[in-house]
């Protein structure tokens, strides 16, 4: 995983990963079109996800994490969202892929689950039928093979009576059950990459854990890479192997979880961790982060966090904040990270 403002080649600095990354974003910038103007919502983000890796993108609302996920799937037409830089999936560029090839990837090699389990399933279709659709789109299985596959998938996501669940309509299932059904649907065609966009945000804590455990177990079982998008730092701490911290569309700090969360160097990551319940030192008062996230319209040159940062000074308003290597795998985009 690299974080850079200069073009850093996908070199061998990634320890223990010799295979090509499943997903790599290099100098990725995203723009939203608004009439004749375009607004930059993600600037120069670079990261890689290795095969079988659990990678988490963390950030506040509006930091651009969901937009990055959508851009990987290319869900928004080029007339609305412009992609600059490189997005590669298993060495193939996603940005230049024609729409029909992209469609073959969606739900095939790349899958996605969403935040809203309550609306993620078509209310008019039994659950099994909906999973079957995904199989029809991407495989040549016949009816009986599909039925068998659906049963395996539903068993994989811990349904005790898969055949019964397959015949049920979404309104008969609880939120957690629906999210599990969504996971089954996402895994139907053995994807290599699962994008999970805040999959547990709408669920209560016990169900959250169950869903996370299922994702984790299936990741190990099938060697799946996971791009986990969340603002829940405790989940990230528990499950992620690598973490990228986004703020205002900029990747502020990235590296292994034990570094980024364990002994974070960037003042923004530290401030974020300070807000998290349960992680403060006894006796110390929990602090929020003063101020608000700047709107993409008001982005000025220099560090985007400087107005809210305790360590900021005049130099932080410089147009280019360098990326500092704190270890071969751990980097922070800050003038004075904690060493």
């Amino acid at each position: 995983m690299t974080l850079s403002s200069d073009t850093r080649p996908a070199d061998g600095t990634i320890a223990g990963q010799n295979a090509a990354p499943v997903l790599s974003a290099r100098n990725l910038s995203l723009y939203i079109r608004e009439g004749r103007n375009r607004i930059r919502i993600v600037s120069d983000v670079s990261f890689e996800i290795a095969a079988g890796e659990f990678f988490a993108l963390v950030g506040e609302s509006g930091s651009g994490k969901t937009m990055i996920a959508r851009s990987i799937m290319r869900l928004l037409p080029a007339s609305m969202l412009e992609i600059e830089g490189d997005l590669e999936f298993c060495g193939k560029s996603l940005t230049s892929l024609p729409e029909n090839r992209m469609r073959a990837l969606r739900g095939g090699a790349i899958s996605m689950i969403f935040q809203e389990p309550m609306t993620s399933l078509d209310p008019l279709m039994p659950v099994g039928r909906q999973i079957e659709e995904t199989l029809e789109l991407h495989s040549d299985l016949n009816r009986r093979q599909r039925a068998e596959r659906i049963e395996t998938l539903l068993t994989d996501v811990r349904f005790a009576e898969p055949a019964k669940v397959a015949a049920m309509f979404p309104h008969e299932l609880s939120g957690g059950m629906r999210q599990r059904a969504m996971i089954a649907m996402a895994l139907a065609n053995n994807p290599q990459l699962l994008i999970a966009d805040e999959p547990t945000t709408a669920l209560d804590v016990t169900i959250q854990r169950e869903v996370m455990e299922i994702i984790q177990r299936l990741r190990r079982k099938y060697g799946l890479s996971v791009l986990f998008i969340s603002h829940d730092l405790s989940l990230v701490h528990q499950y992620a192997e690598r973490v990228g911290v986004l703020y205002g569309g900029v990747l502020m700090e990235a590296g292994p979880e034990r570094d980024v969360i364990g002994r974070s160097a960037h003042p923004y990551t530290q401030a974020l961790l300070n807000c998290a319940p349960g992680r403060r030192v006894a006796g110390e008062r929990r602090r929020g982060i003063g101020g608000t996230v700047p709107s993409p319209r008001d982005w000025a040159p220099g560090c985007r966090f400087r107005d809210r940062c305790e360590r900021a000074d005049a130099a932080c308003a410089n147009s280019e904040i360098p990326v500092k290597d704190l270890s071969p795998e751990w980097r922070a985009k800050c003038l004075r990270p904690t060493e």
Binding site: R106, M112, I113, E116, D122, T134, L137, A186, A188
Partner: protein, 276 residues
Amino acid sequence: MKFDFLNLKFIIGAFLLGFVLFLALFGNLITPFTANKQSLMDSLLPPLSGGHILGTDHLGRDILARMISGARVSLAIAASVVVISGVVGVIVGALSGYLRGTWDLVTQKIVESFWAFPPILLAIAILAFFGQSLTNVILALTIQRWIPYSRMSRAQAMVLRSLAYVESSRVMGGGLAWVMRRHILPNLMASAIIVGTFSMATAILAEASLSFLGLGVPPQIATWGGMLAEGRSYITRAWWLAVMPGVGIFITVLSLNLLGDWLRDQYDPKKTLNLI
């Protein structure tokens, strides 16, 4: 979805519509007369005289036989209009709501310009231009009637496209045709059927108006609107000439409105508890 068939609206609506349908399909078994058989000796006979259940008109034609012919014309025209305009309107509207962009802009301008015409005037213009025939009446009525469907479908498709299951179908690799067929159209059907029921009622009224003005189907075919127009001049001497077709129109439109109302209630998620 559980339908409540014991509802008064449904019972009355279904009974009345069933009655009209029965007349249209099996009316020939009730009366020995045919719609255009004239007999000047028997002109203006009141109902229940000389074997004529509903009486005869100024040319001695059996009113019941003519009512049956009118029921056939009305129902056939209204049904074709509703089906054609429904299919066109739902597809156009669902596409503009789902795709947005240029397609939406273009179709919405077309919709607005069609909507700006007084409906009956547009129909008259078309019939005057293309001439009177069954197909032209259907065309004249269809040309505006697809608009409510397209507006409703557009609004619904705009809501649906932002719902996670439609997006997740795209995420799973579904293309435009796939998402439309599997998720958008099935979810529009309930509303389209409700719009269709009400639209059928107004189509029957519109067809009767055109026939009344002498612009509907060719005059040799008996229609309710045409009978109404002919009966108008005899209204003081023989009330049944105008009242009978009026009752026919009234019953049919009422039954469709009742059924449409009932259907809408059935699909209304807020009305889960029905105490009637």
